[in-house]
């Protein structure tokens, strides 16, 4: 059961913020990664793709805190530069599905009838495919690469947002403020996007956070499989894939990029859970 959150509670939320260690921790982690991504050139001690044949497979040390990989590249610097790509994956991979899903959900919920029925059937079909399988099928046509991943993500990911927003619009459109707006003669577009949608969005804010975790894991997994980000770009999934052949000799190449994914995902999860608590939304 999805409850619509009341945006007028915003001041009260911010007062509660100080008493929410989970939310503070989540936002701190996310901020940390954003800073890391923006200032990668300043923080990283080495060039992420510079190969040093003399320093291959070296264990963690002061010069290389996370060790070096099989090409002698500094793993610490690669993990830092990886934040750029993986944050980008999580953000862009969420934005397009969110935009498409929001528009579809609003239109379907508002108009109902055959428009709604048509979109719901399309959503049923998309959901019948395992998420990753449909994404891989689309990437098969488009060819491997990050842009293919974003296109596939947009084509597949919108369904959850559409369902979420539609459910809220269905409830909202019968409420007094919506009826009042209609009786004032406002256009349908204005009612849909000016009156109904803003009230429906709060719930998807929480969903965006848990979706970001899934998108990040999917993007990294597809890159791990060799179908997303291509080497030598420093991306955490690619790094784990490249490291697997050396797992018996050099554990550090595999360990650190994975920990980075776990930490970023944890930041999104904490923030999402705390927001859900704050807004009184329960799964």
């Amino acid at each position: 059961m999805i409850r619509t959150a009341d945006l007028s509670l915003l001041p009260r939320w911010s007062r509660r913020f100080g008493r929410r260690p989970m939310l503070a921790a989540g936002i701190a982690i996310l901020t940390g990664f954003v800073v890391m991504a923006l200032a990668a050139g300043l923080i990283a001690p080495h060039d992420p793709i510079y190969q040093d044949a003399a320093a291959r497979l070296q264990p963690p040390s002061l010069a290389h805190p996370f060790g070096t990989d099989n090409f002698g590249r500094d793993v610490f610097s690669r993990v830092i530069w990886g934040a750029r790509i993986d944050l980008q994956i999580a953000i862009i991979g969420v934005i397009f599905p969110f935009l498409i899903g929001t528009v579809v959900g609003t239109v379907a919920g508002f108009f109902g009838g055959w428009v709604d029925a048509l979109f719901m059937r399309i959503i049923d079909v998309v959901l019948a495919f395992p998420f990753l399988v449909l994404m891989l099928s689309i990437i098969t046509i488009l060819g491997p690469g990050l842009s293919s991943f974003y296109i596939a993500m947009a084509l597949v990911g919108w369904v959850s947002y559409a369902r979420l927003i539609r459910a809220q619009i269905l409830v909202l459109k019968t409420q007094d403020f919506a009826v009042a707006a209609a009786s004032l003669g406002f256009s349908r577009l204005r009612i849909m996007f000016g009156h109904l949608l803003p009230n429906a969005l709060a719930g998807s804010l929480v969903f965006i956070m848990s979706d970001a975790v899934l998108v990040l894991l999917n993007g990294a997994a597809i890159s791990y499989l060799g179908l997303g980000v291509q080497p030598p770009v420093a991306e955490w999934g690619v790094m784990v894939a490249e490291a697997q052949g050396f797992i018996t000799q050099a554990w550090w190449i595999t360990l650190f990029p994975g920990l980075a994914i776990v930490a970023l995902a944890f930041g999104f999860s904490l923030t999402g859970d705390a927001l859900a608590d704050l807004m009184g939304i329960r799964e």
């Binding site: 099928s137 098969t140 791990y224 776990v262």
Partner: protein
Amino acid sequence: MHRYRFVLFRPLQFLPVLFGISVITFVLVRLIPGDPARILLGTRATPAAIANIRAQYGLDDPIWVQYLYFIKNLLAGEMGRSTLYKIDVLRLIGTRIEPTLALVGMGVLLALIIALPCAALSARRQGRIADHAVRLASTAGIGFPSFWLGAMLILLFSVRLGWLPVSGYGQGFADKLVHLVLPGLTIALSLSAVLTRSLRAGMIAGLQSDIATAARARGLPESAVFWHHVVPNALLPTVNLLAVNIGWLIGGTVVVESVFALPGLGQLMVRGIFTRDYMVVQGVALTFACATVLINFLADIVTVALDPRVEL
């Protein structure tokens, strides 16, 4: 038996979904740039074989007629031939289905073994340290990438301790089982994070329910109340939760099979993408989609069978 009437009628509701699935898989292969006959047969096909495939798939007819040919071939069990393995895609899928099913089974089993005690501990000591630890672990566990978790388990159990094989599937039942432990555990650790959350919520609700109060009033000790009355009711929604997450679970097997070189459907699909074996990719995608629909149907039947209160 009227409660099971939906078993007869529900499949009719699947028809639009199955139609949609067939359209998507058909369109996916047709969208690949290039001559469809070459895509179906590979680049080194003989002119005679190309003429043959043009007739079989109606490639000179309009696109909707081609779709009808596609359906006709599908109904005859004809999914095309693998250009890499040189055998029928349907037969190829048949030989690869066992490791995937075994992996899903192993993953679900281990996930329950992990999630049940964790959720019980958490629910019975709500608000205490153990509860916070379990909740934190399940929040973090959702964000563990399976490909990395698999690699870490290999590092610990295969490389360091030498207890379990690094990869592969093995021969014979016991050997296969040994090879499935680490891949299964990889899936189970992620899945148990989801299961623990749902089980914990169910158990907490159950502990406060009238059923539990009635059991306590009859003088049952708290542990009997919990294990005989609360847990069975909390387990029921798990069937549904597993069905809802089956798509995610299948996606997990695709990645995990690649990590552990398990010769299952997921690995077949990924290899198919790299070798441009399009009929294999199409066949596996179709199989996975139909399996998802089927498993959701089976979950409905199981739910009705387990819980006499449910009417569908």
